[in-house]
């Protein structure tokens, strides 16, 4: 039976215990869930355990978040497919008829791959920064790990990601590239994308509780970040120190991985994986520190 130091002390000092009701249910463990709250950071295990326990909440609210966008629209979820489809069509027209960076009809696939990554990344980050603050209604009444709130946005965006990845694969096949084994790279690319977005979301949403400028800072950074990522242009086009900067951008690795799976990536893209993974690890570590420290006191500032 788990008992902390204080509990043991109390049991020792109370010779006469007046615990009134005997409970005989089989399998019942009265102290199976003991938590002690202090001003110290939460034990990592308890955060992980609570997060795991909240998986159903995460899944339900994430699904709800996605479907509620379309709930009142008469075309419903069709919009979720129609909009990226339209985007792909517009790209096809613009980049095959008007703008030409690179010869070949694969340019549409080239740009669509980058945009698929970016619309998940940018779209999620711009909503998840305010997730904890916006979730105040529920969060101030009942406890669940606050990290669930930005994760809900991530789950919701993942539905769109699935749709746009399917679309990307379809466009790739239509444009005559054909099936090839490197397409399997889409899976690790999606995982990296989700991990990176999650890490940034966890940090930004926690900081936003204390610094309400974060949401605007995120929009500002995203505007610049879009052009600092090889989405509508190939890395090859750039040279010198700017190229190094591109390789340091953690999103570059993911975009290039998606390209490797479809039209073929810029040579030497594997380097950027290092910065991507480093970013994820560092940010996850920061997120862990922030959430362990502030998880139970966020509600004081909501």
């Amino acid at each position: 039976m788990p008992s902390d130091r204080l509990g043991a002390m109390a049991a020792g000092t109370e010779a006469v215990n007046t615990a009134p009701v005997e409970h005989e249910d089989a399998g019942f463990q009265p102290h199976s869930r003991t938590i002690t709250l202090t001003s110290k950071p939460l034990p990592l295990m308890s955060v992980v355990k609570d997060l795991w326990a909240a998986r159903y909440v995460l899944w339900t609210l994430g699904r709800q978040e996605f479907f509620s966008r379309y709930r009142r629209a008469s075309l419903g979820v069709i919009w979720a497919v129609a909009l990226p489809l339209l985007q792909a069509a517009v790209l096809a027209v613009v980049f095959s008829q008007i703008v030409r960076f690179r010869t070949g009809q694969h340019f549409v696939v080239f740009v669509l791959g980058g945009l698929t990554v970016w619309s998940f990344f940018g779209g999620t980050l711009s909503t998840s920064a305010t997730a904890i603050v916006d979730g105040a209604g529920m969060a101030s009444k009942i406890y669940f790990p606050r990290a669930v709130l930005p994760m809900i946005k991530l789950v919701a965006s993942s539905y769109s990601l699935c749709i746009s990845v399917a679309l990307l694969v379809a466009v790739t096949l239509i444009s005559g590239i054909g099936l090839h084994p490197s397409m399997l790279l889409l899976l690790p690319a999606a995982l990296l994308l989700i991990a990176l977005t999650l890490a940034i979301s966890l940090v930004s949403s926690a900081l936003h509780v204390y610094f309400r400028d974060i949401r605007f800072a995120v929009s500002a950074v995203l505007t610049i970040w879009f052009y600092a990522t090889p989405i509508i242009y190939p890395v090859e086009l750039i040279s010198g120190p700017v190229k190094t900067l591109l390789w340091l951008n953690p999103v570059t690795a993911i975009v290039e991985m998606v390209r490797e799976a479809t039209v073929g990536a810029d040579p030497g893209w594997e380097v950027s994986l290092i910065s991507c993974v480093t970013c994820i690890v560092v940010l996850m570590f920061a997120a862990m520190i922030l959430h362990r420290r502030f998880d139970r006191v966020f509600s004081d500032r909501l």
């Binding site: 009265p30 529920m138 009942i142």
Partner: protein, 405 residues
């Protein structure tokens, strides 16, 4: 091994920092000499409390005494700034009307979401689903988003999930006052039931002293963030009453009266509450006689002034009002002092009451003067609730033998 207490609070305190949100470019922040104003505020401090399994503890205190902060710490929504709060078992907090429902989700989805947050597995919720529905009485609104629910349905569903989850610790705030009486009784019975059967620890925060008295053997009194008392409920209520007297500012609530004032005719000099023996008192047992003693100075000659006694309960509800209109009080010459004793029997349930006294012209057209309100407290008979103690008598007898088995 002796069971450890379900709730254990050790020297806990919660400090809130009062920040002033100040945009970077405002004039004040451009003034670099000015320090950021950061004021610390201890909502509660040095709280020590142990609640054993199966116990029901009432928490009482005035607004701002720290009850909600304490409850928030127990609900795990916020961690203490110092000391520790230990909770052993599954907690179901019913901290306010919202009870942590997501407005966009349907009743069904919210049952699952709320249930999982309360620590149930999906399978457990499946098993309890029918009884949750039955208790909540939400009928065909099950698949409607809860934002369309009435406040009664909201609370019913919240309470239903919380009690059917069979928590080890149930925290109840004023929520229950939202439901109608029938539902309140149902909730009360259910709480007592899980307490007896499953050994659930119940912690009730309420201003409704009769509810506390009915449910809890033990109560804690909070005042200005400190634990003033922790012990048997009747004693706690009397400590709470004393606090109310200390802090009551008589100028706060003047008697509202539509009639225009004629202040230069009579002036109330004193108004107090006494026992039949004549000593000042503010505590009375149910059935005891209470004497309201008023002394008035006649500034002008006056005929048959009328004394009106008004008794409100702590929430401002009128309990009793009677003018002395039918009794001629006589002629009083200017410069005389007169007194009036109003004696009544405190056939009242446990509560605090506010007595007002108004002196009116005989024709009731004008108000001469009024006394500063005085408070008194009644320790009612156990289990009596409502506005008045009407002394019901219960007679039961066997009518006929129905069955021979």
């Amino acid at each position: 091994m002796a069971a450890l207490p379900a709730i254990e609070i050790r020297d806990a305190g919660k400090r809130y920092v009062k920040y002033e949100d100040r945009p970077l470019l405002s004039r004040a922040s451009l003034n670099l000499g000015a320090r950021t104003t950061r004021r610390d505020l201890w909502a509660v401090r040095h709280i020590n409390l142990e609640v054993n399994r199966g116990e029901c503890l009432g928490v009482i205190g005035r607004n701002g005494a720290g009850k909600s902060t304490m409850l928030r710490m127990l609900a795990g929504v916020t961690a203490p700034s110092e000391g520790s709060v230990t909770l052993r078992g599954r907690i179901a907090p019913l901290v306010s009307v919202g009870v942590g429902f997501h407005p966009e989700l349907t009743g069904r989805e919210n049952i699952y979401v709320n249930g999982t947050i309360l620590g149930l597995s999906r399978r457990e919720i499946d098993a309890k689903f029918e009884s949750i529905l039955e208790f909540a009485e939400i009928g065909h609104f099950l698949d409607t988003p809860v934002k369309f629910y009435s406040s009664g349905m909201f609370v019913r569903l919240g309470f239903s999930v919380a009690v059917q989850a069979e928590p080890d610790i149930l925290l109840v705030d004023e929520v229950l006052s939202v439901g109608d009486v029938a539902f309140q009784i149902k909730c009360f019975n259910r709480m007592m039931e899980i307490r007896e059967k499953a050994g659930t620890t119940v912690l009730v925060v309420s201003h409704n002293l009769s509810a506390i008295r009915m449910m809890c053997d033990r109560a804690a009194v909070l005042s200005h963030g400190e634990m003033k008392f922790d012990g048997p409920t009747p004693d706690a209520i009397s400590v709470y009453h004393d606090l109310l007297t200390e802090m009551h500012d008589p100028n706060d609530d003047l008697v509202e009266d539509t009639k225009p004032l004629e202040p230069d005719v009579m002036a109330v000099q004193s108004f107090d509450i006494r026992t039949v023996e004549g000593g000042l008192s503010s505590h009375f047992e149910a059935g005891e006689d209470v004497v309201f003693h008023v002394e008035v100075e006649a500034l002008k000659d006056v005929d048959d002034p009328v004394f009106t006694i008004i008794i409100n309960d702590a929430t401002g509800r009128l309990v009793y009002k009677e003018p002395s209109i039918s009794r001629a009080s006589g002629h009083f010459a200017a410069g005389n002092m007169l007194s009036c004793d109003i004696r009544l029997t405190a056939n009242l349930p446990t509560a605090s009451y506010v007595a007002h006294l108004i002196v009116l012209k005989g024709s009731l057209t004008h108000r001469y003067s009024h006394a500063r309100p005085a408070m008194f407290f009644v320790t009612g008979r156990v289990l009596v609730a409502g506005l008045a103690d009407l002394h019901a008598s219960f007679t039961t007898r066997t009518l006929a033998t129905v069955s021979e088995q």
